[in-house]
């Protein structure tokens, strides 16, 4: 069995990569992928905790989170499509509608 500590470390690395990507990348799809990375980091953390404590509810949460992430991607891609239809770009630098 893998030591849950290593799983946690992998989760932290994934989270950091995801956060860094979400901050720096321009392309909305890449940002969405980074967000998926963050979610998966969280899933790994759930799994690590489940192994550590021998509690099955961690696995259950992970399954839930995967399902939610799938629907989130669907919504996100739909938004990007709509955004592209309106602005003809999905570069986040060019879209600052929230300011107005």
């Amino acid at each position: 069995m893998i030591d849950p500590a290593w799983v946690s470390v992998l989760s932290a690395i994934l989270f950091t990569i995801g956060l860094w990507g979400a901050f720096t990348r321009k392309n909305a799809i890449v940002v969405l992928m980074c967000l998926e990375l963050i979610l998966n980091a969280a899933n790994l953390q759930f799994v690590a905790a489940a192994i550590q404590h021998g509690d099955a509810s961690g696995w259950v949460y992970a399954i839930f989170a995967i399902a939610i992430a799938a629907s989130e991607v669907a919504i996100g891609l739909a938004i990007f499509l709509a955004m592209y239809g309106q602005h003809e770009t999905i570069s986040l630098d060019d879209v600052n509608l929230l300011k107005h």
């Binding site: 901050f23 986040l92 630098d93 929230l98 300011k99």
Partner: protein, 751 residues
């Protein structure tokens, strides 16, 4: 009905409230009718623009007053009658009204009320008659007389209400009502800047006094938990009050009286109040408003007379007398140099009111120091001292009302003569503006002279009025003025502080003799100084009625003296019937003996000194300076001709040049009214304007500044905050991440 302690069920006391209510109800009626029918011929000719609506009201008020007075006198005891119409008390816990009046409507009648009531209702009625003659024949007043009559009746209602009030609270309410009406009436010609200014000045100056009156009333309320006469005049309750606090409260109220009665140092409004039409001057200066202050002080008598206050309130009595003494001399001195007929009378009013204040001060001192409840002799002295002051109030009101109306008559006829002379050709034209388009001053005595033969009724009225004010033996004010002077000196012999007011009133007697004679001689004796004065005729209807009436009233004060008026008027607890115990003739003999052959050597000499300087020195000087015979071929009535002849003889023999005096610094100072107005203006500029500037700066910098700082800071802050709102999704994510980090760290630190 029903009510407090000494309510007497009687017929007319039930209707007494109509004395006040009738004029008050007439006010809106005249005003609205005037607005509706303005300019209508019937309204102008038959109703005299409201004058003939006001007149029956004032006559009814007068008749009701007389019925009330005769009933009071008929009751004979001279005690207090109290009528209650409405009475509100606190509601007790059981839901029943506690039998303690907190606020109500009622009247209170005693000897002081009765006298003021007669003066006010009688003079208001006469002034109303005079106004119909004076106001309605002056083209300048066309189409606005309804305003005059409406304000006039409201004013009368205020005065009558103040006199009849049964508590200091109602007294104050009507007092302020009068203040408002005086403002409106003085500013009747509001399009004239000087009139508007005078109205404001009168209002604001009396307001200064009124603030103190309110303070005094609040203090009185704190002492007694009531302002009802029936309660505050109760000797048992007075006995429980701290004398020092009572003195302070009464002193504050006295300042209110000083403002209303135009005494030093709040006198500046009264001469300017002459801007109003002459009937208003008569109303404010003789019948009503200025007497309000005297009435208030006379009302304080029960406090001073209470046994428990024995000797405790003499300081206030001295202050009252001293203010009176100072004003008497100061106002008389200023009257020396006034050329405006009405202004002479205004200063004369101030001076004579000051006499009454001195008399009241002396009477209050005596009541406070003498053991007059038990000692019969002391009792008599106190009663006569108080009665003399009240009698002078009566005499002065009658004489001064007459003098103002007579001066109005002169001014009116001067106007008309001027108009006839200079606008004869275009008589049919609209003559509205002829009063203002030239600079003829119809009020200046410099433009008069020699009117005695042309205006016999007016000249006679003026002569009798002046004699009454001067205190020429046997006429009008003589009886009362002697009493005031004698009592001031009586107090001075015991309390040296009183030498100031006592000396002032004695000197004032000579000064009165001078300025009143000067006024009469300059107006009526000598040769006409202008063409206008040579063409004056006395032909305005209505005006002679009050003049003749008051002439006889002033002449008949000897009868009142014979009726022991001074004894009766001053007696607070009854005991003297109206005619005294002696009857008319004996009463008269008693008064004569008392005045002319006083057994006390000091008062014997004092009487003759006062008569000498008041009736010979003063008028003699005036004759020497201003006397002169009429134009050749003209003769005055037989009772005036000798005076004019005498004046011209004195003038020819003893006439001296007074140009040195006339150009002296003192004379200029007097002409400038002793610079009081300038000082007050300067003080206003420095103090009030300075204070206003400071408050404005405070408002701008501190109050506004705080708000503006808050506003600008938050604006700046918000611009800073707004920069964070970039609109870029990544920045928001960063914020969220940072926020989570901060929350995590906070949790770390706290746990």
């Amino acid at each position: 009905m029903g009510g407090t302690s000494e309510t007497i069920s009687s017929t007319f006391i039930e209707y007494a409230i109509f004395i006040v209510l009738l004029p008050m109800l007439a006010f809106p009626i005249i005003l609205f009718l005037g607005h509706i029918f303005n300019g209508n011929q019937t309204w102008v000719k038959s109703a005299k623009e409201g004058g003939l609506i006001a007149l029956p009201i004032m006559v009814a008020s007068f008749i009701l007053s007389m019925l009330l007075i005769s009933e009071f006198i008929g009751a004979g005891t001279g005690s207090h009658h109290i009528g209650n119409w409405l009475s509100f008390g606190w509601i007790g816990e059981d839901g029943m009204t506690i039998n303690e009046k907190v606020f109500g409507v009622g009247i209170y009648i005693d000897h002081v009320t009765v006298m003021l009531l007669f003066i006010a209702s009688f003079l208001c009625m006469l002034i109303n008659i005079f106004s119909i003659g004076y106001m309605n024949t002056d083209p300048i007043n066309d189409n606005r007389n309804h305003r005059f009559y409406a304000e006039f009746v409201l004013f009368c209602s205020g005065m009558l209400g103040m006199v009849l009030a049964d508590s200091f609270l109602w007294l104050f309410i009507f007092w302020e009502l009068m203040g408002l009406c005086s403002y409106l009436l003085i500013g009747f010609y509001y399009e004239k800047p000087s009139a508007a200014y005078a109205a404001k000045k009168a209002f604001l100056t009396t307001r200064v006094g009124d603030v103190f009156l309110v303070i005094g009333l609040v203090m009185l309320w704190n002492l007694f938990d009531s302002l009802d006469y029936a309660i505050v005049f109760n000797e048992d309750l007075i006995a429980q009050v701290d004398p020092g606090q009572l003195q302070l409260a009464l002193g504050m109220m006295f300042i209110g009286a000083v403002g209303k009665s135009a005494q030093f140092p709040l006198h500046v409004w009264l001469p300017d109040a002459m801007e109003g039409p002459t009937p208003v001057s008569a109303l404010i200066h003789a019948a009503t408003m200025v007497n309000a202050g005297l009435y208030l002080v006379a009302r304080m008598f029960p406090f001073f007379g209470a046994e428990s206050m024995h000797g405790e309130l003499v300081d206030l009595a001295f202050i009252i007398a001293a203010i009176g003494g100072i004003t008497a001399v100061m106002a008389a001195a200023i009257a020396f140099v006034q050329d405006d007929l009405k202004k002479v009378l205004a200063y004369s009013t101030m001076s004579q009111l000051a006499y009454i204040f001195t008399g009241l001060g002396a009477a209050l001192w005596l009541a406070n120091s003498y053991d007059w409840h038990t000692d019969d002799k002391a009792h008599g002295i106190v009663v006569v001292a108080f009665g003399a002051a009240l009698f002078h109030l009566f005499n002065h009101a009658m004489a001064k009302g007459m003098l103002f109306m007579a001066s109005g008559s002169v001014i009116h006829e001067m106007h008309h003569a001027h108009h006839d002379l200079h606008h004869h050709d275009d008589h049919g034209d609209d003559h509205h503006d002829d009063h203002h388009d030239d600079h003829f001053d119809a009020q200046s005595m410099e433009n008069m002279g020699g009117l005695a033969s042309k205006m016999p009724i007016t000249a006679t009225a003026m002569l009798v009025g002046s004699a009454s004010i001067m205190g020429l033996p046997l006429i009008g004010g003589f009886w009362s003025k002697e009493g005031i002077i004698a009592n001031a000196w009586r107090v001075a012999l015991e309390d040296p502080r009183f030498f100031l007011p006592a000396a002032c009133v004695l000197i004032g007697a000579a000064m009165t003799g001078f300025y009143m004679s000067r006024m009469w001689l300059k107006t009526f004796a000598g040769k006409p100084k202008t063409e206008v004065a040579a063409n004056v005729h006395e032909h305005t209807p209505w005006i002679p009625i009050p003049l003749v009436t008051l002439t006889f009233v002033s002449l008949s004060s000897v009868i009142l003296a014979g009726m022991m008026f001074t004894h009766w008027a001053g007696e607070p607890n009854g005991g003297y019937a109206f005619f005294g115990e002696k009857g008319m003739l004996k009463g008269l003999i008693y008064e004569f003996e008392h005045v002319f052959v006083n057994p006390d050597a000091f008062f014997f000499v004092l009487t003759y000194v006062a008569i000498f300087i008041g009736a010979i020195v003063g008028p003699g000087l005036a004759m020497a300076l201003y006397g002169g015979s009429l134009k050749d071929g003209e003769k005055a009535k037989p009772w005036m001709q000798p005076i004019i002849n005498l004046s011209s003889r004195v003038n020819a023999k003893r006439g001296f040049d007074n140009s040195a005096w006339a150009n002296s610094g003192l004379s200029n100072a007097l002409k400038e009214r002793l610079y009081f107005d300038k000082w007050y203006d300067a003080a206003m500029l420095k103090l009030v304007a300075g204070f206003a500037n400071i408050s404005a700066a405070f408002d701008r910098n501190v109050v506004d500044g705080t708000i503006k700082t808050i506003e600008s800071t938050s604006q700046k802050l918000s611009t800073q905050v707004r920069r964070l709102t970039t609109g870029s999704a990544r920045d928001y994510i960063m914020m969220a991440a940072l926020g989570v980090l901060v929350i995590y760290m906070l949790l770390e630190v706290m746990i």
